[in-house]
């Protein structure tokens, strides 16, 4: 246990303070050797010194080992080559020994040290790889930007032990927005940090990264071009890092890493994993951005499709009555025909019908425009349910109104609705029923109140709705199979009704009524009664 503890301390010293460790090792060895100076030949002491140099090389690396070799060379000469305690050498054979010792010590120190450094590097690389693998696995899973920012901050803290770090992302206008930061004082980033980050973003360069030297091409590939802090507009030399999150065609943002808590500049080996993480994050951000853009493009395509359907549907709905009116009026205006009064009145009644149709198409269009803007937010208040039902009823053109049979219970409660919208939804149901029912057939409009909800329904004597169409008929521009090109309607009425009912937290559906016909039912939850008055 104690041995292991000592070894640990030795390793720590060797790693952090290599030259000190080298000097201390050689001096301690010398102190240990001196008492036995006369028991062995001087050449044997040389071998022992070589052992010490090898130890230093193995623990502390090449440069401390070279220092140890030099020191051992001097001390061996000073203490063990006669005359003792001087650097003078009498025997010319000793000159040769000295020379050989130096060469062997340097060679051994270099080789052993390199081996040790390679091993340490391999270990570090392995750790980096593991960390990067983990990080990229998280990036591939569908995380949000803020999740990733949090993860990234954790990694940065672990890799570098930085005092603070922040992820600064470019928004749509290209301004940097702080997405996530971790800092000792949890305060805001200093303005100087933001200044440099902005410079880095504007120039697509890193700031404060150590220059890369003696690295293989694979390392250099992802390494950002970096400049000094002062070149980036800082007033003094600093020790923090600004790593650009660069993809091929865009700078996604800046990864800011504050100075390390132990002080001192970042080395290449510290920054390399940061650069790798930054590059992966940039790729992730680019993917997110492209994804969002593609969703937007899909929405635009859908809007385009709707628009073209709208234009074809609406132009038909607007042009047909206009054509019919033009023809009828033109006919009546002809001088060559004597129009008797009844005949003329009949012609004019059809003009009236066309005009009603035109008016309802225009209303449907206005509804659609409102539906797609925020203007269609419901303004709910307490209304007498009877008033809502009658408001819808009164909007049906007078001629058609007589076909509607209203059957309401004696009294109806107050309900919390947007009266304009609700009346529009009911009006659309009524208008549909009047169109799809056979001419002069009755349309039934009813309402009831049950536990926690009110219901209004509209019943017609039309062909009914096939079960497979009962959902689709509520979609925009969907026209039921039983409707032909000549059946008036924009295909918007039910879509508007469904939207209104949805706003009110209710349900709308269609069911069969025997022997033939459809019943459209809306059910909207009621919320208590009007407050104190």
């Amino acid at each position: 246990m104690i041995g292991a503890g000592c070894m640990h301390i030795l390793r720590y010293l060797a790693k952090r303070h290599g030259y000190f460790f080298a000097a201390a090792s050689v001096l301690t060895a010398t102190a240990a050797f001196l008492p036995g100076r006369d028991h062995f030949a001087r050449a044997q002491w040389a071998l022992l010194y070589l052992l010490v140099v090898g130890l230093v090389a193995g623990l502390a690396g090449v440069r401390p080992a070279l220092g140890a070799a030099g020191l051992a060379f001097l001390l061996w000469n000073f203490f063990f080559l006669p005359p003792h305690n001087t650097f003078a050498v009498h025997d010319s054979k000793d000159w040769l020994s000295l020379f050989v010792f130096l060469v062997v010590a340097v060679a051994m120190g270099t080789q052993t040290g390199r081996l040790r450094e390679r091993e340490a590097e391999a270990l570090a690389r392995e750790r980096e790889m593991a960390m990067l693998n983990q990080f990229s696995a998280r990036l591939v899973s569908d995380s949000s930007i803020s999740d990733i920012a949090q993860l990234l901050m954790g990694e940065v803290a672990q890799i570098t032990g930085a005092r603070s770090a922040a992820l600064l992302l470019a928004d749509e206008e290209g301004n940097l927005q702080e997405h996530r930061s971790c800092a000792d004082d949890a305060g805001e980033l200093e303005s100087s940090v933001l200044c440099i980050a902005q410079w880095a973003q504007a120039h697509s360069k890193g700031v404060g990264l150590p220059p890369i030297t003696r690295r293989s091409d694979t390392d250099a590939a992802g390494w950002p071009i970096s400049v000094d802090h002062v070149q980036a507009g800082a007033s003094t030399h600093r020790e923090d890092l600004f790593i650009p999150l660069q993809t091929i065609d865009r700078l996604e943002g800046i990864l800011y890493v504050g100075q390390r808590s132990s002080g001192g500049p970042y080395r290449v080996s510290d920054v390399r994993p940061l650069v790798a993480v930054a590059n992966q994050t940039a790729a992730f951000l680019e993917r997110k951005r492209l994804q969002a853009a593609s969703v937007q493009a899909d929405a635009l395509r859908e809007a385009d499709r709707l628009k073209s359907t709208l234009i074809s549907s609406v132009s038909h709905e607007l042009k047909t009555p206009i054509a019919s009116i033009t023809a009828t009026i033109g006919n009546l205006a002809e001088q060559d025909v004597e129009w008797d009064k009844d005949k003329a009145a009949h012609e004019l009644a059809s003009v009236q019908e066309d005009l009603d149709r035109l008016n309802s198409s225009i209303n449907a269009l206005l509804d659609l425009a409102r539906l797609e803007s925020a203007a269609w937010e419901p303004r709910r208040e307490w209304y007498d349910l009877a008033d809502v039902v009658w408001a819808a009823h009164s909007r049906i053109p007078q001629k058609q109104r007589s076909r509607i049979q209203v059957s309401l219970p004696e009294a109806l409660p107050m309900v919390f609705v947007d009266v304009t919208q609700m009346a529009r939804a009911l009006e659309n149901l009524l208008a549909n029923a009047l169109i799809y029912g056979p001419p002069d057939s009755a349309v039934l409009l009813g309402a009831s109140v049950e536990e926690g909800a009110f219901r209004v329904w509209v019943e017609d004597e039309g062909p009914g709705i096939r079960p497979e169409e009962r959902e689709r008929i509520f979609e925009k521009f969907y026209r039921g199979r039983s409707s032909s090109q000549s059946t008036p309607g924009t295909g918007l009425g039910l879509a508007v009704a469904r939207e209104v009912i949805r706003f009110h937290g209710g349900r709308i559906w269609v069911e069969d009524v025997g022997p033939r016909g459809a019943r459209f039912v809306i059910s909207v939850p009621t919320e208590g009664t009007p407050g104190p008055l």
Binding site: L355, N359, E381, W382, Y383, D384, L385, A386, D387, V389, W390, A391, S394, R395, Q398, R401, S402, V406, L408, P409, E410, A411, L412, M414, V419, T420, A423, A447, P530, L533
Partner: protein, 236 residues
């Protein structure tokens, strides 16, 4: 309609030429004496030259809106004003009625409806005398002075608010009263915005006086605007 001895003079104010043309043709055919104005300023000019018996005023006009014209006119013009609007329950319509317009129609309107409204408005001004102390409507009998209401001879108990609403509406039969007007009259100016409270009271009132409260005959709702008391059974 046979031409009356003195043909009523109607001033039509609308910036749309088609509407002016249509209204002139409808009204002159029914024996009205029609003048046209294309703007608010022109309307005021015309009515100063010759006082109309009734004015038809479009709400949405450039420069001077119908509401502004109405407010201006009400300084000296006492005749009935019928407003025209494109959107039903339009806030502009409510504002116009609040500044003193008597009734409104939503475009597109039917000729028969327009003529019915005009006749009702002219009838009311012709008989502009102190309203009778007792108002009869269907089987309803409202005694304003004694503050009692009878339905088919049976006395009905109303709260003070309910009676005030009913008597105010009945004294202005066939005329649209905005929620604000009723609230100011019955509750006081500080309650002018509380249309919701008014609707709740009207709902209670209907349960007491209407034969079928869910299909009212007497107190009709003008959605988004206010209420109207129907003196006779509705025609449709």
């Amino acid at each position: 309609m046979s031409a009356p001895e003195k043909r009523p003079h109607v001033l039509v104010v609308d910036d749309e030429e088609q509407i002016r043309r249509a209204l002139r043709s409808i009204l002159t055919a029914r024996g009205y004496d029609v003048a046209l104005a294309a703007s608010g300023a022109e309307a005021i000019e015309c009515s100063l030259n010759r006082l109309p018996d009734l004015m038809i005023l479009d709400v949405a006009m450039p420069e001077m809106t119908g509401i502004e014209v109405c407010r201006e006119l009400r300084n000296w013009f006492e005749g009935p004003i019928l407003m025209l609007s494109v959107i039903s329950g339009d806030t502009d319509i409510v504002a116009a009625l609040d500044t003193g317009a008597d009734d409104y129609l939503t475009k597109p309107f039917s000729t028969s409806e327009l003529l019915a409204r005009i006749r009702a408005l002219l009838r009311r001004t012709a008989s502009r005398v102190t309203p009778p102390p007792t108002i009869h409507a269907g089987d309803l009998e409202i005694d304003i002075a004694r503050r009692t209401v009878k339905r088919a001879g049976q006395e009905i108990e109303l709260t003070r608010m309910e009676f005030d609403i009913l008597s105010y509406l009945a004294q202005n039969a066939d005329r649209v009263l905005t929620s604000r007007m009723i609230l100011e009259k019955v509750w006081g100016p500080e309650y002018a915005e509380d249309a919701q409270t008014l609707r709740v009271h009207v709902s209670h009132l209907r349960k007491k006086i209407e034969p079928h409260p869910s299909s009212p005959r007497h107190i009709l709702t003008e959605t988004g605007v206010g209420f109207r008391f129907a003196s006779s059974e509705p025609s449709d």
